[in-house]
Amino acid sequence: MVSASQSAAPAAAPMTGEQRKWDIDPVLTVEHLTMRFGGLVAVNDLSFNVGRGDITALIGPNGAGKTTVFNCVTGFYKPTEGRTVMRHGAGLLQDMVDEVTAGGLRSIRDGDKAVFLLERMPDFEISQFARVARTFQNIRLFGGMTVLENLMVAQHNTLMTASIYTIGGLIGLPGYRVAEKAAKEKAVYWLERTRLIERADDPAADLPYGDQRRLEIARAMCTEPHLLCLDEPAAGLNPRESAELNELLQFIRAEHATSILLIEHDMGVVMEISDHVVVLDYGVKIADGDAIQVKNDPKVIAAYLGVDDEAEIDIPEVRKDLEEVEQAASDEGSAS
């Protein structure tokens, strides 16, 4: 599966002497992540960092394993191998990470700093404690519930505590009323931000496609995430909606101290808003750097951007890479 050119690829990412921002202060570290489905290796020994406060893009051709990475990070799958570390609080917190790993713990907390090993946590705790939220490529709203209710479900744990496991909510305790009012206010805030306030009481399934995409982001934000994972948020959006999405993501990053990890095919979106781009191909990382570095990386151009684009492959360096890739592909073909 993994050809020679690809296994050699990580070294090809431009390694400058200076330490990059996302290596010094990562909110999420994915280390040696491997996910196998039977004989199929969807992600192979993948390591990358997501910088705190950055917008990080995960790109790659179809089937490169991007969504699998998301599924591992958010607890949808249990990875076959590897460690995913979520950090609350600045810095590498290496002592805490070591302690959690060695102690067989799920998480460790020290004042307002905390470290979580996502692969050890059950799915609901990843949202509740590690504060990772995600959206889906194929939208997964609660279609039968209203738009507002979708956002209230996202605040379930706060409300559950405030209502003393529902009993208080049933008899209308004042503490619960206050909490519910606050939850509604937060929901309204996000509905205004995403321009969905008019549709608050409509069933989510009745919303048009673009609105549903924004509602998914609003719902994820209602869980107050430290890391927001967006799986192709711009898919199916027209250019105007796409520009609005960029604005919304910039706003989330700036105003809510939320780091963003996104999968995207729309290169316009990726290049415009990403601080950091990680490129996958066949489950292996082939490039890792800022948008400009990645854009000019011959491996990326060969594997992803311009294989069949005459103008792009006319660069001698790229042609060489391309030949390697083609060679590898034909090797694979003859092998199988």
Binding site: F76, F124, V153, L159
Partner: protein, 309 residues
Amino acid sequence: MEYFVQQLINGLTLGSIYGLIAIGYTMVYGIIGMINFAHGDIFMIGSFIALATFLILTTVFGFVFLPVVLLIVLIVAMLFTSAWGWTVERLAYRPLRGSFRLAPLITAIGMSIVLQNFVQVTQGARNKPIPPQIQGGITIMEGMTENGRIAVQLSYMQMIIIATTVLLMIGFTLLITKTPLGRAQRACEQDRKMAALLGVNVDRTISLTFVMGAALASVAGLMFLLLYGVIDFYIGFLAGVKAFTAAVLGGIGSLPGAMLGGLLIGLIEVFWSGYFTIEYKDVAAFSILAIVLIFMPSGLLGKPEVEKV
């Protein structure tokens, strides 16, 4: 006319009991898509716990003031039956979640047999009667027929059953629509995995669904005990089948549907017994179910399943 009104009252009373049990079936089906065949036996257990509590209170502690006794019985029965419901889910269903579709169905049938036999062995197979507790009533209509005078009686017992059911339904509707637990249940019903990714503890939500169903079934069990004055280890079977029928008739997965279905099954049974032959009352109820399902496959209030493409 008077006869009709009398049958209507009787039918609504019986239907209330079926409806309360049916909610347990429909909620569990809604959230995890399985038919909890042990639910009828949870109802039976609830009725036995009510009987035991009642006897302990009246004979051992010598309580005589009936409203207080019944209130304590109700609370104790709800608590203990809920614990049974929770345990059954924890032991028999949760380990099989994610297994193939028929696995939980088979354990449910097994669980039903286990519960019946447990009660049979520990409590004995004979009928357990209690003397009628709530007697009397009011006459709401009187009239003459060719057979003589006929009076329409609404007994206090029937009033209590209907009033309790209405109260429980109001509380329950509030719980489902307004509280975070209810929202989480509806969310789990639609997309369990997504609910988990938003921080909802899905396993706990499912457990609480079983607990709520069991609590309602125990109320039905207490009412059954007071209404008929006699219970045995086997009452859960027929009541369970009827309540399941009610849930399907109303549209399984729909809460108002379960209540409506329960009332309809109760009415069909009582009217059939009243106007035709009592021996065929169950046949009538099931025939109506079959007819409704031919023309409305998703039940009266059920949402048709739209296949996503």
